[in-house]
């Protein structure tokens, strides 16, 4: 299971980074979403991987899984969800007002604007 989780994080991160480096807004947003999935799984794993264990106190439990990373992941999911919504709208706004979805602002753009 450790290998599965670790390789999933690795693949998601690699794919995310590749997409981020595409420099067009849609792939970049996809890439950032992938990175945030990767980080969510990573955070989840920081409390050690444990299966079928209760996170909070109960009388008949012999061992526990760490509840804190789960709370952290929940926070991170909410934040990244909101951020993705913001960045999609922003990318749309940039595309509609500038008629280009290039993330990079090149030299020729600067001269065109001045």
């Amino acid at each position: 299971m450790e290998f599965l989780v670790a390789s999933a994080i690795g693949v998601l991160t690699a794919a995310g980074l590749y997409l981020v480096l595409r420099f067009r807004s849609f792939p970049v947003i996809l890439g950032i979403s992938m990175l945030s999935y990767a980080v969510n799984v990573f955070l989840f794993a920081t409390g050690r991987l444990a299966v079928d264990l209760p996170p909070v106190l109960s009388d008949d439990a012999t061992a526990y899984t760490d509840p804190l990373p789960q709370a952290l992941v929940l926070t991170a999911i909410v934040i990244s969800f909101g951020m993705t919504a913001v960045v999609v709208l922003l990318a749309l706004g940039a595309y509609l007002s500038a008629r280009t979805d290039a993330v990079d602002i090149g030299l020729d753009d600067q001269e065109a604007d001045t």
Partner: protein
Amino acid sequence: MNHWIIAPVVLPALMAAVIVLAMRHHQGLQRIFSLGACTALVAIAIGLFVESASGRIGVYELGNWPAPFGIVLVLDRLSALMVLITSVLAFIVVLYAIGSDWDARGHHFHALFQFQLMGICGAFLTGDAFNLFVFFEVLLIASYGLMIHGGGGRRFRAGLQYVLYNLLGSTLFLFALGTLYAVTGTLNMADLAVRVAELPANDTALLRVGAMLLLLVFAIKAALLPLHFWLPETYAEAPAPVAALFAIMTKVGAYAILRMYTLVFGPDAAVTGELTGPWFLIAALVTLGVGMIGVLGASKLGRLAAFSAIGSMGTLLIAISVFTPETTQAALYYMIHSTIAGAMMFLVVDLVRERRGAAADALVPAPAMAQHGLLAALFFGAAIASAGMPPLSGFIGKLLILDAVRVSEHVWLIWSVILATTLVAVLGFAQAGSKIFWKTTEPEAPATAEDTPAADDPAPTAAATMPRLPLVATGALLAASVLLSVFAGPVTGFLGETADQLYNSEIYVSGVLGAR
């Protein structure tokens, strides 16, 4: 438990909600309440500042959960100082925004502004690393909205870049926090400090990775080279009051570096003490160099101001990177100064932009603008402050830094870089100033040129229609810089105590963990 500690977070949060829910169609009410909230924030910040001056660590346990199980807000000298700077800057910036009608060029300026203040104050006050992340996100998401306030294609594109860059930074932040949590099992900063010190020396590879990732995140916020790419475009394109408020945002990164790398990964922590090493200093030196060369090479005043912000961050990070109480004292003084000077520069640039019409802030000769002399004087003041020339506070700040870094083994390198870049900056500002304020072209001659009464008519009327309040706000920043140099003695005295408190991290740790 002192409940005032949480007031700088709660007050802007409530005010933002009230503004957006109850008075979204009433510009006048929004202004009154926003200004009122900023005034109250200044008062609260002064109160907290006075309290922290006693040297006692104030701890606020959220939900009355004791540290390290619950989140705590911690008030020490450094955080009180940062909250005070933020509130004063916010007050002046809101005055400017109201006076220049910037807040009416889009929706929800004041609500976003209050949310941003909430995030900044929270980031300064929190004593929990994950809570620091949350407040970073709060201030960032508000800043995304503020950044594109007023709209426009170019601003949208710069805003998109800014958002994407910071989203990557946030992801990195989470990776860093996850790593730290996996190693230490805690995210409370004081508890982290204890656990890191206890860690066996041969078991620290992961911890060092985490510490390094964290430094990268804060370096992004602080615009340390080569992670500064988001800054020039963002600051140059952001609305002026927003850019002026952003002057404190890079300082959030610097603050976080200071906090984490004195408290948790302090210079005498065995496992991570030498981690930042000389490369952090080198990066800061390069930041300063690139910033000031950018000042010299900028083709627009907006970009000039942005690069001067990078340069000032470079100077600040040089002083921070040496990690001794004396250099930190100098760094804190320079931090106050560069917040004021950076904000003033952005406001002056906007004043110029508003008055020059089509030429805007491009460094090309154009007809003399309204209130030409006054603006030239303000620009002169801002330039002197930013470059670090006497008599304003930049000079004292740089002098303190030059004096304090004598303990570093790289002292000659630091001295030569700081002095050379100061010269470059002086050249850059002088060149920009002379292009805009001296090389004025003749105004487009009106058809009735021989009509002398009409000729001197336009300037006074144009000056009369220009609002006064933005000038007052900019002047207030200039006055703050003057006051900072006049009262340099008492200020550095306090900052010395602040630095001592930072480097005696056991005071902080026992203050937080002993408060059970």
